[in-house]
């Protein structure tokens, strides 16, 4: 064999190796980004659970002071029960939405009870709840950022060549009423 043939064979092998490397890179990249979406979802879940777990403590603290607001307190407890007993994701989301609203009105009503608002326990609960609400918002934002990164890779060339029939993920959208931040301080 002459030199040219060797060079040709070498070039073919090199091109093949580069192609394999690119494939491995994109395969892993898509996997990593897809895992990040799963992780981002579980982050939201963790925060929602923490919020539901605060409810019994909150009810316990508030009960003594807000005797005339039984209805509002009950709404909070009920929406938590709905979340805990939810069978489908749809039910769960509905429960979370109800809890958001119930908590908001409970805290709005608490304005009328200065003694309650002055108690250390209530202040701490309020801060925890504020914190969790903003963590939920940030976790959603990170979820959507992760979805964006993933969708960008699998829908643009060359990533789309390696996507293997994967379809873009859905973004999390929030309803209009939820868009307003839970303002418990006035």
């Amino acid at each position: 064999m002459n030199e040219l043939a060797w060079i040709g064979i070498g070039a073919v092998i090199l091109a093949f190796l580069i192609a394999v490397l690119i494939m491995v890179y994109y395969y892993n990249r898509i996997r990593v980004l897809s895992n990040r979406i799963d992780n981002a979802w579980s982050q939201i879940d963790v925060q929602l659970k923490k919020r539901a777990d605060l409810v019994p403590n909150l009810v316990e603290t508030v009960k003594g002071y807000m005797e005339h607001e039984r209805g509002a307190i009950e709404l909070v407890t009920k929406s938590r029960e709905k979340i805990l007993g939810a069978g489908t994701r749809q039910e769960r989301l509905e429960g979370e939405r109800e809890l958001t609203g119930a908590l908001r009105s409970l805290f709005a009503l608490s304005e009328n009870y200065p003694q309650l608002r002055a108690s250390e326990n209530f202040k701490l609960l309020q801060e925890q709840l504020d914190g969790i609400e903003s963590k939920i918002a940030y976790a959603r934002q990170f979820y959507n950022d992760s979805v964006l990164a993933y969708n960008n890779v699998i829908t643009t060339i060359p990533g789309s060549w390696f996507a293997g029939g994967r379809t873009p993920h859905e973004y999390l959208r929030i309803s209009e009423e939820e868009r307003e931040p839970v303002k418990v301080q006035f």
């Binding site: 801060e127 976790a139 934002q141």
Partner: protein, 299 residues
Amino acid sequence: MSKLSFFDEISRNKRDSLILAVVVLLVLGALAYVIAQLLFARYTALFFVTALAFILPYIYGTYTYGDQVVLSAANAVPADPQRNAYLVNTVEGLSIAAGIPPPKAYIIENDEINAFATGKDPQHASIAVTTGALQHLRRDELEGVVGHEISHIRNYDTRFMTAVAVMVGLVTILSHGLLRSFWFAGSGRRSERDRDRVGILIVVGMILAIVAPVVVRLVQLAVSRRRELLADSSSAELTRYPEGLASALEKILKMNKGKMDVSEGMSHLFFVDPNKHPLDSLFATHPPLEKRIQILRSM
């Protein structure tokens, strides 16, 4: 969106750290050589080995435990998850937004509004905030400040800054050592030729000892100012609300007196310069507050 550019920033920071480390090591080598020639002309090799035996553990130690040193030098104490829930929640929230593990939160007892981040990577990071900031800043303002620090961590600025602080410290120490060794170099009996050699060495050494710390410091400052602006815009991307950070900076402009009593070697770590300088632009670790506010407001 700018996701890709963050990866660029991160690899650029890692590369910058490496270049800086090599340059500073060369400067250190030159300093050490001159000292060796002045003091122990016959045992230069031995001196080098001994010096390395001290310097390498020092570099490793400060790189690994530098965050602890910085935190204790700033009198930062760990935040209590109950009493400082406000801060701990904010730090956790923004770390979720940035997709990094939550850094440890610390508190500095001080009336000025300020904060800093440290740690060699996002897994070993800490954020310290002054009590003044917790008192005076609203939630959206505090989120802006914490977002700025979280960005420093995610972009590996904190690693770079730790490396820089270690290197600047070493150069300063050796320059002092060099200036000191002139004292001993002059003494003792020497031959005519020896005296000439020592004369040249002293001149070279003088220049090195004076120039090296200044050059290293200027590099540190230029890099620091660029990274501050980047962290501001990253913070706005995390909170999706540049106005929070802008109004925090405005409060700082009004309230801070620039008297935090922080050593010069650490001032570049902070959110805003803890000390006020007369020679502002060239030796400033941070861009002017007015400029940072203006950039945020134009986003």
